[in-house]
């Protein structure tokens, strides 16, 4: 533990030192010339060198404050991940010790196979990917078609229809879930079926909006050129617009797959059969009654959480660019 803290401090000091080292590559004259003194650090009678030294101290102080603040919060952000992994690697006996340990003294990998078995992970993984792939495909089709109509085809009432679409984004989903549950489970008898998990989610107004913005940036000249060549609308859409908008489509695919990985409420409502659970709901169900029999199985529970979290982190590490792109444009998750 102490070693860990010392390492962090060493890294911070090193970084700050490095930062100033780079800056001091400028010659002194250059620095004097570029320098703007502020009231706080400039005093009458001081030489320029002295002022600069004082200001540099202030600056280092500022950097230390910044890094300390960010460092502490970064640790706060990482603690849950750390605790999850460290608890999942502890033996049951170690977890139940009166004085808890900060790291596993004895590695116990056995929690993972047990958690996989309890979670029925293979089955749930398949369900989630299956539902995710189909709802992503469906969403891509409806989104591309609608975005094309909204950006290229000129017809009466287009803006009105688009505005009505946008208005639906303001309605809380719970308004729809109640009746959708009645429609899907009551009328259409869709309980415990894959289509019930897929069909209500093959439409997303936000993605239509996102893709429409993207399509609008494509110059019309391309379209006229295609017309002259005798290309049909649909072919133009597939051969020209879709490839140009590929980055947005990839973003949609990733966010949609993550959405199906994280979906909880709808699977909770339409599935009672454990073989049809999606992974997040399955996780909750598998470890629900832990506290009832009085036995602590935190290790298993944390291993289960780690199994569900890991794929998301892997996706994030490799596809960060696309995820961030989707996020910085709006606040819709999944």
């Amino acid at each position: 533990m102490t070693m860990f803290i010392l390492t962090i401090i060493a890294v911070v000091i090193g970084v700050i030192y490095f930062n100033f080292k780079v800056k001091s590559n400028e010659s002194v004259d250059e620095r004097l010339f570029n320098h703007v003194p502020s009231k706080k650090t400039a005093y009458i009678g001081d030489s320029a060198e002295e002022t600069m030294r004082r200001e540099r101290v202030m600056k280092i102080f500022k950097y230390v404050m910044c890094y300390a603040f960010l460092g502490i919060l970064a640790i706060f952000m990482l603690i849950p991940f750390y605790w999850m992994i460290s608890t999942s690697l502890k033996t049951e006996a170690e977890i139940e010790r009166a004085i808890p340990t900060f790291y596993p003294h004895e590695l116990a990998l056995s929690n993972y196979p047990k958690a996989i078995a309890r979670l029925n992970a293979g089955r749930l993984f398949f369900n989630t990917v299956w539902v995710g792939v189909w709802s992503t495909l469906g969403t891509l089709i409806t989104t591309v078609l609608a975005a094309f109509a909204f950006s290229r085809i000129q017809f009466k009432g287009r803006e009105l229809v688009f505005n009505i679409f946008l208005t639906t984004m303001m309605i809380p989903g719970e308004m729809m879930t109640i009746s959708n549950y009645i429609t899907v489970v009551g009328y259409l008898k869709g309980a415990n079926t894959y289509w019930a998990l897929i069909v209500p989610f093959v439409i997303s107004v936000y993605y239509i909006y996102l893709l429409r913005q993207n399509f609008k940036q494509i110059p019309n000249e391309l379209y006229y050129a295609a017309k002259v060549d005798g290309t049909s609308d649909f072919k133009y859409l597939l051969k020209v617009m879709v490839p140009i908008a590929m980055p947005t489509l990839i973003t949609i695919t990733i966010l949609k797959m993550m959405g199906s990985w994280n979906s909880y409420m709808w699977p909770m409502m339409v599935t009672q059969d454990p073989n049809k659970y999606l992974i997040t709901y399955g996780l909750r169900q598998a470890f629900k009654s832990d506290n009832v029999d009085g036995r602590t199985i935190q290790g298993l529970q944390m291993a289960g959480s780690a199994i569900v979290t890991a794929p998301l982190l892997v996706v994030f590490i490799f596809l960060r660019k696309y995820i961030m792109r989707g996020v910085s444009r709006s606040g819709i998750k999944g």
């Binding site: 930062n19 703007v36 706080k40 890094y67 603040f69 919060l73 970064a74 952000m77 990482l78 603690i79 991940f81 608890t87 977890i95 004085i99 808890p100 609608a146 109509a149 085809i153 000129q154 017809f155 009466k156 639906t168 303001m170 309605i171 809380p172 308004m175 729809m176 879930t177 109640i178 009746s179 549950y181 009645i182 429609t183 009551g186 009328y187 093959v202 439409i203 107004v205 609308d233 993550m258 990985w261 909880y264 409420m265 409502m269 997040t280 909750r284 470890f287 629900k288 602590t296 529970q301 959480s305 780690a306 569900v308 979290t309 998301l312 994030f316 995820i323 961030m324 996020v327 910085s328």
Partner: protein
């Protein structure tokens, strides 16, 4: 743009839009209307539905009975609404201020910036249920990380989540410890999005403002309150509204942390939220009575709360915030 015959274009547009329109009609427009209708029908029982659109409304149940019921004594809805409002007004200001500080600090450093940015983004890509379970383990009363820390610092352990369902005081200490855990989790979970939004707009702020302030010898704090915050006010306002809306719909975090314990309905320690109430009552209560109407009424109340905030957003958006 497609030129040519107007009617032909209309039908062509409709052809391309038809999948989206059909799906929206079935899964968005119709449900919204139906939920409104159900909320005015007391005793609606979805279990009696057959295929067809003649839903089993209770012919004697029309009126405001559902609303009267959910706001009456003994129904947990009022408690859930109160919980939600407290969660909103505690977690939103904390997370906005924290994320503003983080964004400013991140913006003023060079080395490690990308690395720290990635760390602050991590909670965004995690699973709410999985990490919620981690939080409930961290705040566990005996082996939890939090109590271990408290013990190390010489404090006694706190029973953060353990229920004391017999408590008869409205907001007892158990409520507050539970609230602390829940708020910590919500803030942890909602920081990444805010940090990213604020940081990206900070990076596009014109450096000249800061250089001018530096020449005038303005203090750091004044620069922050007089330049940074006003320049970011559109983004801050946007975040404020979206997080108000998001926090009013808080649900998965409650389920993840409290699990079965949140289900002690009726006790004052119930940490349920409005959405939690809706899902809990949708299929009928534990004694098997038809309570779909309650859930619908709760959803309509939530709808109007959110409509209020989007309304404010629309009004202010037109005026462009820039104090």
């Amino acid at each position: 743009m497609v030129e040519g015959n107007k009617t032909r274009n209309f039908w062509r547009g409709m052809l391309y839009l038809s999948p989206a329109i059909i799906l929206l009609l079935v899964f968005t427009f119709y449900p919204v209307i139906q939920t409104f209708v159900i909320s005015f029908n007391y005793g609606y029982n979805y279990a009696l539905t057959r295929f067809g659109f003649f839903a089993p409304y209770n012919p004697e149940g029309w009126g405001f009975a559902n609303y009267a019921k959910i706001f009456s004594e003994g129904n947990p809805f009022v408690q859930c609404l109160l919980n939600t409002i407290i969660i909103v007004f505690v977690s939103v200001p904390i997370s906005i201020m924290l994320s503003l500080l983080i964004a400013v600090a991140l913006n003023s450093i060079k080395p490690l910036q990308k690395f720290l940015q990635t760390i602050f983004f991590l909670p965004y890509v995690t699973n709410t249920i999985a990490i919620g379970m981690v939080f409930s383990v961290m705040f566990e009363s005996e082996q939890g990380l939090m109590n271990t820390f408290l013990n190390l610092m010489g404090q006694s352990s706190v029973n953060w989540l353990g229920g004391n369902p017999d408590a008869s005081i409205l907001f007892d200490s158990q409520f507050f410890t539970s609230l602390i855990v829940l708020t910590t989790y919500i803030v942890w979970n909602s920081l990444p999005f805010k940090v990213i939004i604020l940081l990206s707009s900070l990076q596009s702020v014109d450096r000249q403002y800061y250089q001018a302030a530096q020449i005038d010898g303005t203090t750091k704090f004044r620069t922050f309150t007089k330049i940074t915050v006003p320049l970011l006010s559109p983004q801050i306002f946007y975040l404020l509204i979206t997080s108000f809306i998001g926090a009013f719909k808080e649900y998965t975090s409650v389920v993840a942390i409290f699990g079965d314990r949140a289900e002690s309905v009726g006790s004052h320690n119930n940490m349920g939220t409005v959405v939690w109430y809706i899902y809990e009552y949708l299929k009928g209560n534990r004694s098997g009575a038809a309570t779909t109407g309650y859930a619908a009424a709760g959803a309509v109340v939530l709808f109007f709360i959110i409509l209020f905030f989007t309304g404010i957003n629309k009004i202010i958006e037109k005026k462009k915030v820039h104090f």
